[in-house]
């Protein structure tokens, strides 16, 4: 069975405002038929709890629609905020796109 995978790549600072742009992008790729969304944090320099809050509610919407959301390439600050809020247990994260491809797409 083939899954449609789409990558969303936000950049800069993710706060309540900029994360909303990411939320719209994610729901857009889901509307266009994606089964799996990978949010690549490669170009995200900083995230605060409002940005994380938007990501959490987006995850909930994606799961409710029977789709999947993964994240990869978190920098040290983003990792820190995921750990402090224990959201590292809620999100499936990968070191980079290659690891995501190996572990999710090949299996």
């Amino acid at each position: 069975m083939n899954f449609i995978v789409k990558i969303v790549q936000p950049s800069g600072i993710l706060n309540g405002v900029t994360a909303n742009k990411m939320r719209l992008e994610i729901s857009d790729v889901i509307d266009k038929g994606a089964d799996i969304v990978l949010v690549d944090f490669q170009d995200v320099t900083f995230m605060n709890s409002s940005g994380l809050g938007v990501l959490i509610s987006t995850l909930r919407v994606v799961h409710a629609g029977g789709k999947q959301l993964f994240i990869c390439s978190l920098n040290e600050q983003v990792k820190m905020i995921f750990e402090l809020t224990k959201m590292n247990c809620v999100f499936k994260t990968f070191a980079n796109r290659e690891e995501f491809e190996q572990k999710v797409l090949i299996n």
Binding site: V17, F46, L52, I56, Q77, T85
Partner: protein
């Protein structure tokens, strides 16, 4: 009025008891201040004023980054940066929710040799921070969309307070100590 010595004595004892009840809880705070200031002279202090605007976060973060002292370990620095961003977000979204965008938010960072202090002043109304902390401790919704900021600051800071100032503002204080 006829003041009787025994009544005066009783009154003096009562005042003394109340005084010690007020002074005793202060001791742990005094000890903490001593611990932090001992061998820990102030190096420098920096100020920044920004508007009530979420997009000013970029300016706040780059300002903070250029103050970086080489002796501060990276995780400490990232933690302080994260806490600063949460404090700023709270000032804009909560304290200044009803105030115009030109309302200033004042930020000050003070470096000591083994600690740093971040202060953020807002012009919001008075707020019972202790009650809010208590309420947060009782909340268990791990997947709520908002309400994580204060918890994050609490986890990062060695000392966190939010107090009313004499000029009718609020001051958020974050103290983080470190070993260089």
């Amino acid at each position: 009025m006829d003041l009787q010595p025994s009544l005066l004595q009783q009154e003096a004892e009562r005042i003394n008891r109340e005084r010690s009840q007020l002074v005793n809880p202060l001791q742990p705070i005094k000890n903490l201040v001593l611990k932090i200031t001992k061998n820990n002279p102030i190096i420098q202090s920096f100020q920044l004023q920004v508007n009530t605007d979420l997009s000013a976060l970029a300016q706040v973060l780059s300002w903070f980054d250029q103050l970086r002292q080489p002796s501060i370990p990276n995780t400490i620095w990232l933690g302080c940066k994260t806490a600063l961003a949460e404090g700023f977000d709270n000032a804009v979204c909560h304290a200044h929710q009803q105030l115009p965008p030109e309302t200033p938010i004042d930020i000050e960072v003070t470096f000591f040799t083994q600690s740093l202090e971040i202060r953020i002043w807002d012009s919001g109304s008075a707020f019972d921070f202790e009650a809010h902390l208590q309420q947060l401790a009782e909340e268990i919704d791990e997947t709520a969309e908002s309400g994580r900021g204060v918890k994050i600051m609490q986890q990062i800071a060695d000392y966190l307070s939010y107090t009313r100032t004499p000029d009718n503002r609020n001051c958020l204080l974050i103290i983080k100590s470190y070993s260089p």
